[in-house]
């Protein structure tokens, strides 16, 4: 393992990454404390967009595209349709701050989870990336599938059945929505 003080090899937080994380966490906190649901949905959309930019910084362009289209786009649309069909609560309180009890429980949860953070590998030097499976995909994707984007190759070829299962989940969800809403067509 890398010595904890061998800092030159490790990546430290850049200004861009720090700004993005601050933006994303800020949006999440705003979403958590606002009572106006429309405001929460807008904060969640901004949050999703920030997360999509983080995926680009972490060199995951496929995930970023999906997050921007599905997370910031489709999900936001679904939430907006829902409050258009239901209600946006209006009362005097604009903020929803944690009570003492829930604040303590939240703090305990974060501290327990946070105590595992120092045991994680430094960012950029994770053992996952040297794994046999990852390396196999990177070495053989081109000759076996003739697709240069390895993520596409894995999604559509190596783990094709997984993607079929995903399509089944989406289909089931579509049917479930129609059944729950007692309708026969979406539009």
């Amino acid at each position: 393992m890398i010595e904890p003080l061998a800092l030159p090899l490790q990546t430290t937080v850049s200004a861009l990454e720090a700004a993005l994380l601050a933006f994303v966490l800020g949006c999440a906190v705003i979403a958590a404390v606002l009572r106006d649901v429309l405001g929460v949905i807008i904060a969640a959309a901004a949050y999703s967009l920030g997360v999509a930019v983080i995926w680009v910084v972490l060199r995951a362009p496929d995930v970023a595209l999906t997050e921007a289209a599905v997370g910031a786009g489709v999900t936001t649309l679904l939430f907006l349709l829902t409050i258009a069909k239901t209600v946006n609560p209006t009362d005097e309180r604009s903020l929803e701050l944690p009570s003492v009890g829930s604040g303590a429980a939240l703090l305990a949860f974060v501290l327990v989870l946070g105590s595992t953070v120092p045991a994680m590998p430094a960012i950029g030097g994770s053992p996952v990336t040297d794994g046999e499976v990852s390396q196999y995909y990177l070495e053989h994707a081109h000759e076996q599938t003739e697709v240069d984007n390895v993520v596409t190759a894995v999604l559509a070829a190596y783990r094709g059945f997984d993607t079929l299962g995903e399509a089944v989940v989406v289909f089931s969800a579509g049917v479930a929505v129609l059944v729950v809403l007692q309708r026969e067509v979406f539009v």
Binding site: V29, E67, V74
Partner: protein, 119 residues
Amino acid sequence: MILESLLTQYNYVAVVALLGIGLYMIVESTNLVKKVIGLNVFQTGIFLLFITAAYVEGGAAPVLTNEAPYVSPLPHVLILTAIVVGVSLVAVALALIVRIYGAYGTLDEDVLREVRANE
């Protein structure tokens, strides 16, 4: 130690914070729509854990026309699947919420509990 974590393991610190915020929204919000948004935030925290684990310092996106080294493609594929499954989950949850509103006329958890107790 905390400062060192912030400098070299900042994304994992953010993961913990996002999981905390998401769980808080799921448990503490009385509005059902906000609970679903909390579910989304919690989920994205897990995604950040996976995508960070795939990252290689100085690595390129896993497209073979780029120069090696590449970041690991496998967590990206898993998270792509998870995003799509997540949106399916949100769609069904929101459909249930629309039906609950149709039946009870409220989306507030506390009011809903009272109405159901009086039935």
